[in-house]
C-alpha cells in the first residue's frame, strides 16, 4: 500500500520504518523538506537527526506534506498534536478526501511543564477536531496510548499480551486499521466506537504520563483484563 506518514519525530520514524519493513511504499511528509534534511542535532529524546534516519532507510521517501498526502492511499498523522490541524491543512483537504487517516497524535500542552496537560479534552478531542476539519476523510484514532517503540513492536512486552484501541466513525476504515495493527503484532484490538470515544484514549495519556514518571519506564502498556 502507498502510505504517507506525516511527521519526522520518533513516532513518524518508528511507524514509517516498520511500514516499509512490512513491504509498504512509504513516504514521510514534512512541512519543509530542505529544513528537515538540514538538521544536524539529535532530537529532544537524544535520537539521531532526521537525515541520519533517512540515510538508514533508503527505501522510504521524503516529500512535502502535500505531495506525500496526494500520492498516498492511506495517511498517518504522526505530527505534534499542537500542530496537527495546521499540518493537515498544509497537507491539503483535497489530498486527504476519501482516505483513511490514522491519527496517532496527542494534544499535549507542555506550557506548564511536566507532566503535560491536554490542549483539548473532556467534551472534545483532537481526533474529533481533525474529523470536523476534514469531513471527507475517514479518521481512525489509534496507537496514541503507547510510546513509539511499543506501537510498532508490541511483542517486546509480555509477548504482546496487552491492548490497543481504535475509534472512528467508519467501520470499514477501522477494520483496515485493525489489520494494519495486527501486522505490527497487536492481538488485542478493542473497537471503542465512534470518533468521540477518542476522548477516552487521549485522556488516558494523563495517566500514562504519571505511570511513566512513577515507574521511570516508558516501555509499558495496559492490558484490559476482562
Amino acid at each position: 500500500m502507498r502510505i504517507a506518514v506525516l511527521g519526522t519525530g520518533p513516532v513518524g520514524q518508528a511507524v514509517a520504518g516498520t511500514l516499509a519493513e512490512l513491504g509498504h511504499d512509504v513516504t514521510v511528509g514534512t512541512r519543509n523538506v530542505a529544513t528537515a534534511m538540514a538538521r544536524t542535532n539529535p532530537d529532544t529524546f537524544g535520537n539521531p537527526p532526521f537525515p541520519v534516519w533517512v540515510e538508514q532507510h533508503p527505501e522510504v521517501g521524503v516529500a512535502t506534506l502535500a505531495d506525500a498526502a496526494a500520492a498516498a492511499e492511506l495517511v498517518v498523522n504522526a505530527t505534534n498534536g499542537a500542530g496537527s490541524i495546521a499540518a493537515l491543512e498544509a497537507a491539503g483537504e483535497e489530498h486527504l478526501a476519501g482516505k483513511v487517516l490514522i491519527d496517532i497524535a496527542n494534544p499535549l500542552d507542555f506550557s506548564q511543564g511536566m507532566p503535560p496537560s491536554l490542549l483539548v479534552s473532556n467534551t472534545d478531542s483532537l481526533a474529533e477536531q481533525i474529523q470536523h476539519r476534514l469531513p471527507g476523510t475517514r479518521v481512525v484514532k489509534a496507537l496514541n496510548t503507547i510510546n513509539a517503540y511499543v506501537m510498532v513492536d508490541p511483542k517486546q512486552l509480555a509477548g504482546g499480551d496487552h491492548t490497543v484501541f481504535v475509534s472512528g466513525n467508519d467501520p470499514t476504515a477501522k477494520t483496515q486499521v485493525t489489520e494494519l495493527l495486527r501486522s505490527f503484532g497487536w492481538s488485542d484490538v478493542i473497537d471503542l466506537g465512534d470518533i468521540t470515544t477518542a476522548r477516552g484514549t487521549e485522556m488516558y495519556v494523563s495517566l500514562w504520563a504519571r505511570i511513566w514518571a512513577a515507574t521511570q519506564n516508558p516501555t509499558f502498556n495496559i492490558k484490559v483484563v476482562r
Copy 2:
C-alpha cells in the same frame, strides 16, 4: 480499626461490607439517617434499597456524616463526586483533621448524558479540591478506576493479576491505604506520587466508561504490563 464510610450507594455498601467482614468497626455515614433508612425503592442500578442492606449487615453502624467521621480513625469518601465537597464539609473539617481519607469518588457529570464527562479535569482534580478544602486531612486517591465489585474483590478477575493506583501527599498514609488494599486482595499497587497524580486516574475514567460501553461488561480492570 474504626472506619467511617461516607456514602450509601453501591461503592459505600461494597467497601463498608468488606471492611466489616475483615474485622473492622465500620459505620456508614449519610446526610440524613432517617431519610436513608426510609428508602423503599431499589437504586438506579437495581440494587435493594439501603435499609435492606443495613438489615443484612447488622455489624455495620449507620450515623450522620459528622458522627461517623468524628468517631473514625480512617474515613472513606464513597459519596457522589458532584456532592463530595459538600458531604465532607457536612462531615466537618475538625472531624477529619489528621485522619487518612481514602477518596474513591469521581467527578462525573451526567448532565450531557452517557458516557459522563468530568466536572473537573486536566489541570485539576476532585482529589486536589478535597485536599485543598481539608488541608489537615491526609487524602489518598484510590480505587476510583474500577467498579464497586472489583474494588473489594480483585481476585474475581484473572486471580487479581491487574493494577490499582494510589495518589497522595503523605507517604505514611499511602502505605496504610496500600495495606488496606492488600487486605482486599490487591497485589499490584502503583504509587503514582502526590495528590496531583489523581488527575491521571480520574481522567482514565473517560476511557473506562468507553471500554465498558464497547465490551458491555463493567467487570474489568487494566493491568500495567511492564
